[in-house]
Structure formats: structure tokens, C-alpha cells
């Protein structure tokens, strides 16, 4: 396994494992994360995984940059991909509807097909969680089928409802809380994506696998969803 270590701050080093986004990165990323977490143990302040990198924030009172580098090299020596184990599997219910996912129509027009077909195609794939960022519990997932890829909105919405499910380029995600956002919205989930009372806080963790399951409005409501249309919330 080839990787590069880059200096990013006085107490942070970037481990660069890949140079492109790919689902096949994940078993290596998970294995490297686990190795680094156990190698640094209490000397680790934070480990920030993303698509191709792992940022190691070490405790500068306990470790020098040189020692931290050596520790990374030792931890990643003879790295093997974590085949299969790692991530958990989730089924996330989504109410796909124009009132909460106005870009369903746009996507259908772009693909020259029906809204029902877009829903089917978005929900039939299994997605991987590549990274969490933007907001607590916001999971970047992919890869969305190439034909469904859509650029972010030219003007982001000032207010996107909690639970909104969207697409940006070949990625998909659900907004854990109300926030501004520029993703193409296609539905809404009643699932609580970030919960401070939950062990581990975030429903989704890097490396997890996710399948979206289309549900009717009644089920969405029963599961605690809020069906207020997007415009009415703005």
C-alpha cells in the first residue's frame, strides 16, 4: 500500500492513501483508521477521515511531529484491506415526493424519464459512507448512478428541512438538521441522523453501507417525519 504523509499543522499530519474517489478505497481506509487509532491511542486528539485521506491530529504535548510520523509509518506497515467487516448496514426510509423533494422533477426531465423511475434508481443502489462533514452527522455517500449525477444548485437554499435527502454530483446525503444547502432535493427521511443521546451520536459512520427505502407519506408520518412542504418552511 502506497501512501504519502503531508504536514498540515503543528499537530496534524495528512495521510494520503488515494488520489481519486472510489468505493474500493473504503476497506483500506477503514483498516488504516483502525491501525492509526490503536497505534496513537491516547495520543490521538482526532482522526478525520475523508474520501482519500486520513488527517491525524496528535497531542503535541505527548508526541513530536517526527515521532508522530514514525508512528504512522509503523502503524501502516504491511497494511491489509479490511474486507467486509468494518461498516454497518442501514436501511433508511425516504418519502420521495415533490413537496419535499422538488428536484425530483428536474432530475426526471434531465434523464428523460419519470419521477417514479428516478425514485427507483436512487433507492435500488447500496451506497457507501465516504466521509462525514459539513454538519454533525452529515454523511457523504456514493456513488450515485452516473446518469443521476447533478451539479449543486446555482443558488443554495437558505433553509433546507431536517431529513432532506439530496444529490450533488455523484453523491447523495441527508441533512441531519435544518441548514442552508445547495443539493438537489428528492425526498425526506424521518430517521434521526444525529442524536446526542445515541451511542456514537451519528447514525452513519464512515465505511457504513446504506440503502434508501421508498415509503408512503403515512409511513413517513408514523415514523415521526415532518411533512411540511419545503416552501412552507422557508
Amino acid at each position: 500500500m502506497n501512501y504519502r504523509i503531508e504536514v498540515v499543522a503543528i499537530d496534524c499530519l495528512m495521510v494520503r492513501l488515494f488520489d481519486r474517489i472510489d468505493e474500493s478505497n473504503m476497506p483500506w481506509m477503514l483498516a488504516a483508521s483502525q491501525r492509526l487509532r490503536s497505534a496513537f491511542a491516547e495520543r490521538l486528539v482526532d482522526l478525520v477521515p475523508s474520501y482519500t485521506t486520513l488527517m491525524v491530529h496528535f497531542d503535541l504535548l505527548q508526541v513530536s511531529p517526527a515521532v508522530a510520523q514514525a508512528c504512522i509509518r509503523e502503524a501502516l506497515n504491511d497494511l491489509q484491506a479490511d474486507a467486509g467487516s468494518g461498516g454497518r448496514e442501514h436501511e433508511i426510509p425516504v418519502w420521495y415526493d415533490l413537496s419535499v423533494g422538488p428536484e425530483l422533477k428536474l432530475l426526471a426531465e434531465r434523464c428523460n424519464t419519470t419521477v417514479a423511475d428516478i425514485i427507483r434508481r436512487h433507492s435500488e443502489r447500496e451506497y457507501q459512507v465516504f466521509a462525514l462533514g459539513f454538519a454533525p452527522g452529515f454523511a457523504f455517500m456514493g456513488l450515485v448512478e452516473e446518469a443521476l449525477a447533478a451539479p449543486r444548485l446555482a443558488t443554495p437554499r437558505k433553509r433546507v428541512a431536517a431529513g432532506s435527502v439530496g444529490i450533488a454530483e455523484r453523491q447523495t446525503a441527508a441533512y441531519p438538521a435544518v441548514s442552508p444547502g445547495g443539493w438537489n432535493l428528492i425526498g425526506r427521511t424521518p430517521s434521526k441522523l444525529f442524536d446526542r443521546q445515541r451511542e456514537g451520536y451519528s447514525l452513519l459512520q464512515p465505511g457504513d453501507r446504506v440503502r434508501f427505502v421508498a415509503v408512503e407519506r403515512a409511513t413517513f408520518i408514523n415514523l415521526g417525519g415532518d411533512d411540511t412542504p419545503l416552501e412552507a418552511q422557508a
Binding site: V7, V8, A9, M14, I21, V45, D46, S50
Partner: protein, 306 residues
């Protein structure tokens, strides 16, 4: 238990500590006092741990009434603090009698003042910290990230030590005269030669577009010539360059990952100073390498303790 009543506050008056750690892989930002050096001094004055909860007052507009006789500490910016109308300079602990009013008005020198109490202010720990992050609804007195508000009460439980001052030799320099140390990042070679020269030899003006996520800088347009980047972890102090070529220094409440190229990252000591500068301040960057900056930080922390 001692109490203080908040008589006036603003959205920029926040309960803070050293920050929230161990949860950044979940997209949770770091948070914490922007000028960590002044926060440390405020706590040092009362014999607190370095990360005990403090009040961060940015630009003023904050007022407290003592519900009991008490002892507090003030460090950081001089926000024209008054104790019952009498000027109170920072870098000291002081006694307040029941019914007395502490008011922080407006910046005379620096931008952010830190008020500490014996043992630290009491607040719920949310994901291991009480640092207030409004955007993430984490921390603060209510645990939901809200700024401090009129009518709320601050509580603390420690015993008041004897009044003390920070020796003047240790007061940080809040002016923009000294350069800010910038650790060179991995994309440094992907900026144009002219941009590299300008980054370290031209003035950068702090824009008014500044908050706890970041401070925009105005100056020559920097040209990044490298490939598009894939989002990756962003360290505290990262100097990122979006497509408009105007750098943004990323602070404690930054997003956890991002995809803009970076010149590098300011050192924690440089960041603490920058957090005290008002819009319009003019700064220069000075390159520094990791080992040297790390040694300097270690030395600073050790001297602090001693």
C-alpha cells in the same frame, strides 16, 4: 454555589472552553475560545485548569450583576470594562461585591475578552465540552449552542483565591505589527511563483466578513494552478484559497472537511493574536516549518505552567 445575572448580552457573547475533541470524524467542529492564550491566562489567574469554561465576549455589549460577593478574572481584549462605572483593566482577577455590575462596553484594544470564575462556569457537557457552536446547536448554558442571553444566570462553585495579575511582560501583542507564522502546506508548490512571492511579501487586510468559522483576507489575487482537490480534513488555522484567490483563515468553528487548496496553516500562537484583530487590520505572513513551530508551542506552554 455562586451566581451572576446576565443583564445584557449579544449573539457574540458565548460560553467557551478549550473545544470539543474526539468527534470530528462525525462532522462535529472543534469550537472553543478563539484566543486560547487569553482564555488560559483568565483561568490561570484563578488557579483553574487551562480549559475551564469561560465567557468569551466579542466587541462588548455584555453586562453582569453579582448575586453574591465573588472573585472573577478578566483577560484578553480591553473592551472598556467597568466595575460599577470604574475602569477595570484586563489581565487581573478582582473582587465583586453583591449587587455590583461588571460591564464590557466596546473595544479599546483587541476584540475578545475572557471572563473566568473560580473553578470555571458550570454548564452541561455536550459531546465532552461546553463550547458553544450556534450552527451545530451544541454547548453553552442550554446545551443547544445558544449565545448567552439577558436574564440567564451563570453559576460556579470554586473558592475565590487571592487577587492576582498577569505580569505585563506576558501580555500578548494584539497589534498587527508582528508577522503571523504560517506553516507551509502540501499544495504550496501549486500556487504560481508570483502568488507565492505575494503571499509572503504583501499586506493582507482583514475583511469585515469574519466570524468564528473564518476570517477573509483582502489582497493580491492568489493563483492556484494545481488539480481540483477532493475534500479532506482541515486543520485549525488553515489558510485556504477559494477560486476568487482571496484567502480565508479557518478558525475554531470551521467545517471539518473541505476541498479548497491551502497555503498552509497559521500556528496556534499566530491564530490567538489574529483572533484579537479587528477588520481593517493589516497583516503579513511569515513561513515557518513544523518542527520549529512545534518547539515554540511547547516552550510557550511550559513557560505558562511555570
Amino acid at each position: 454555589m455562586s451566581r451572576l445575572s446576565i443583564e445584557a448580552s449579544t449573539p457574540l457573547c458565548l460560553l467557551q472552553d478549550a473545544g470539543r475533541f474526539g468527534v470530528r470524524h462525525l462532522g462535529v467542529t472543534q469550537g472553543g475560545a478563539l484566543d486560547w492564550v487569553s482564555m488560559r491566562w483568565a483561568n490561570w489567574l484563578l488557579g483553574n485548569g487551562p480549559g475551564a469554561a469561560v465567557v468569551e465576549v466579542t466587541l462588548g455589549g455584555f453586562s453582569l450583576i453579582a448575586e453574591q460577593d465573588c472573585c472573577l478574572a478578566l483577560a484578553g481584549a480591553d473592551l472598556d470594562a467597568r466595575l460599577d462605572g470604574q475602569p477595570l483593566k484586563p489581565w487581573r482577577s478582582f473582587s465583586m461585591n453583591k449587587g455590583q455590575r461588571l460591564r464590557l462596553n466596546a473595544p479599546l484594544h483587541g476584540a475578545r475578552a475572557y471572563i473566568a470564575a473560580p473553578g470555571g462556569f458550570k454548564a452541561p457537557q455536550v459531546l465532552g465540552s461546553c463550547a458553544s457552536v450556534v450552527r451545530e446547536e451544541l454547548g453553552g448554558l442550554d446545551g443547544l449552542g445558544s449565545p448567552l442571553a439577558k436574564g440567564q444566570q451563570l453559576e460556579y462553585g470554586g473558592a475565590a483565591p487571592a487577587p492576582k495579575e498577569v505580569p505585563e511582560a506576558f501580555w500578548p501583542d494584539f497589534t498587527d505589527r508582528l508577522p503571523l507564522d504560517l506553516l507551509l502546506g502540501a499544495q504550496i508548490g501549486d500556487f504560481s511563483g508570483m502568488s507565492l512571492f505575494e503571499a509572503f511579501n504583501r499586506d493582507w487586510t482583514l475583511d469585515s466578513r469574519a466570524d468564528r468559522m473564518g476570517i477573509r483576507l483582502l489582497g493580491p489575487v492568489l493563483q492556484y494552478q494545481g488539480p481540483a482537490m477532493i475534500s479532506e480534513g482541515i486543520p485549525l488555522g488553515a489558510v485556504q484559497v477559494p477560486p476568487d484567490g482571496q484567502p480565508i483563515v479557518l478558525l475554531n468553528d470551521r467545517q471539518t472537511i473541505g476541498g479548497y487548496p491551502r497555503l498552509g496553516a497559521l500556528t496556534p500562537l499566530a491564530l490567538a493574536r489574529m483572533a484579537q484583530m479587528l477588520p481593517g487590520s493589516v497583516v503579513r505572513f511569515r513561513p515557518v516549518v513544523q518542527e520549529i513551530a512545534w518547539l515554540e508551542q511547547r516552550a510557550f506552554l511550559e513557560r505558562f505552567v511555570g
